[in-house]
């Protein structure tokens, strides 16, 4: 349908701190006008990756191209990007209007009308110094900048952590609305996966510096199922399949199994008296991450022996 244009190309990106490997040989491509979810646990490497893409941090090795060029000290590229961080530092004396005023100077697509509407939506106090704002208000400032800047590539690094559920919903709604009218590339990092599941088109899961999933959201949605019932029957069914997670209580076992279920499978399950429950995107990603971690630990142990 639409020809895919890569706007970001990352090849073998590695970031090493003194004794930790924060980003480990990561490669991926970001397509134009798509909303990506960059998902992973705290400390998985999401912020590091985004910082390197926006030239705020530096790679140890590997190649990063944004709009075909290296972003480091490249004003031509950087002015088309916007990185909204989780805890952003603002100039000491700044009021919200100073931050937005500065944003208007530097982001060429800045829309004042949208900013005004968002200020109202988030009920942002315009007379309070930013350093005196609450966590939620501080997050709102960042979110408003990110949305109203309408930068061609916008990164949101869990900026809505201080926002309550209502404010978060406002953010998702406004993001979708504005994205629909003014398509752009958005990379949203979050650990509230189920909240953003319907917004993101592609899922990039990063765990301990490695990308463990890079797929279309819809493709992943029916990737797993929860089989619940008599432990023996369950184990018989899941033989030969990849099991992500197993729980049991007495005779009853609940197993998360990888692989879409065919009609035949469903017949077998019904015949065996087993229940099938859908697996939410969050559950799937959590289980996949844990599974990958367990596998890594096992292979580490093997290597140590």
């Amino acid at each position: 349908m639409t020809t895919a244009t890569p706007v970001i190309e990352v090849k073998n990106l590695t970031k090493r701190y003194r004794d930790t490997l924060a980003v480990d040989d990561v490669s991926f491509t970001i397509e134009k006008d798509t909303i990506y979810g960059l998902l992973g646990r705290n400390g998985a490497g999401k912020t590091t990756v985004m910082s390197i893409l926006t030239a705020q941090n530096f790679a140890t090795s590997g190649d990063v191209r944004v709009f075909g060029e290296r972003p480091y000290e490249n004003a031509r590229v950087l002015e088309r990007l916007c990185f909204v961080r989780e805890s952003q530092k603002y100039p000491d004396d700044a009021l919200a209007k100073h931050a937005f005023g500065a944003a208007r100077l530097f982001f060429r697509n800045w829309n004042e009308e949208l900013a005004r509407q968002l200020i109202e939506d988030f009920q942002l106090p315009m007379k309070t110094r930013i350093k005196k704002m609450s966590r939620g208000q501080l997050s709102a400032v960042g979110v408003i900048i990110g949305l109203a800047a309408r930068a061609e590539i916008t990164f949101f690094d869990e900026p809505y952590l201080g926002l309550d559920a209502v404010a978060r919903q406002i953010f998702y709604d406004r993001l979708l609305e504005d994205y629909t009218e003014h398509p752009r590339t958005v990379i949203l990092s979050s650990h509230l996966i189920d909240e953003v599941a319907n917004i993101i088109e592609r899922v990039l899961v990063i765990d301990r510096g490695r990308i463990i999933m890079n797929e279309e959201t819809d493709a992943v949605r029916n990737r797993a199922a929860n089989i619940v019932g008599d432990a023996n029957a369950v184990d018989t069914f899941v033989r030969g399949r990849e099991v992500l997670h197993r729980e049991s209580l007495g005779h009853v076992a609940s197993v998360t199994v990888l692989g879409a279920l065919t009609a035949e499978d469903r017949e077998r399950l019904a015949a065996a008296g087993l229940d099938v429950a859908p697996v939410s995107l969050q559950q799937l990603i959590v289980r996949t991450t844990q599974h990958a971690a367990a596998r890594a630990a096992a292979s580490d142990e093997g290597a140590l022996r």
């Binding site: 979708l176 819809d218 008296g273 995107l281």
Partner: protein
């Protein structure tokens, strides 16, 4: 409305199909636009577009250039045929499985179906979805 564990674009397509089948979206009527669907379900417009595209590929919707997507003539028939074929898989098989668990024979089932079908209108009204 939106279920877990199933591709979103399929669910969107299905909701449009449901409307066509129950008659609320007539043939040759304009289908909801991608943006309208996205806004209503609070999902990414690209996902909604995928669902609409799938329906177009299937022949359920067609595009009138410059105006939008419309319900194709014969769409309802097409969908009914499709759903009837899937009906046995989706509804009858689970019914039989559950009946087996409870020790009901197919004949018992048939009788139940006939009974319920001819029950007075008052009891069935409560089951309207």
């Amino acid at each position: 409305m939106i279920e877990e564990g199933r591709a979103l674009f399929l669910q969107i397509a299905e909701s449009v199909e449901d409307a066509i089948i129950d008659g609320s979206l007539a043939e040759e009527a304009q289908a909801p636009s991608t943006n309208e669907l996205a806004a209503f379900y609070r999902i990414n417009p690209a996902t909604a577009a995928k669902g609409v595209a799938m329906l177009a590929d299937k022949g359920v919707l067609y595009k009138r250039r410059g105006i939008g997507m419309f319900v194709a003539p014969g769409a309802r028939e097409l969908l009914l045929r499709e759903r009837r074929a899937a009906f046995a898989d989706r509804f009858v098989d689970p019914l039989l499985a559950e009946a087996r668990k409870l020790g009901l024979t197919p004949d018992d089932l048939a009788q139940l179906v006939r009974d319920r079908a001819s029950a007075p209108a008052a009891t069935t009204e409560g089951n309207v979805r």
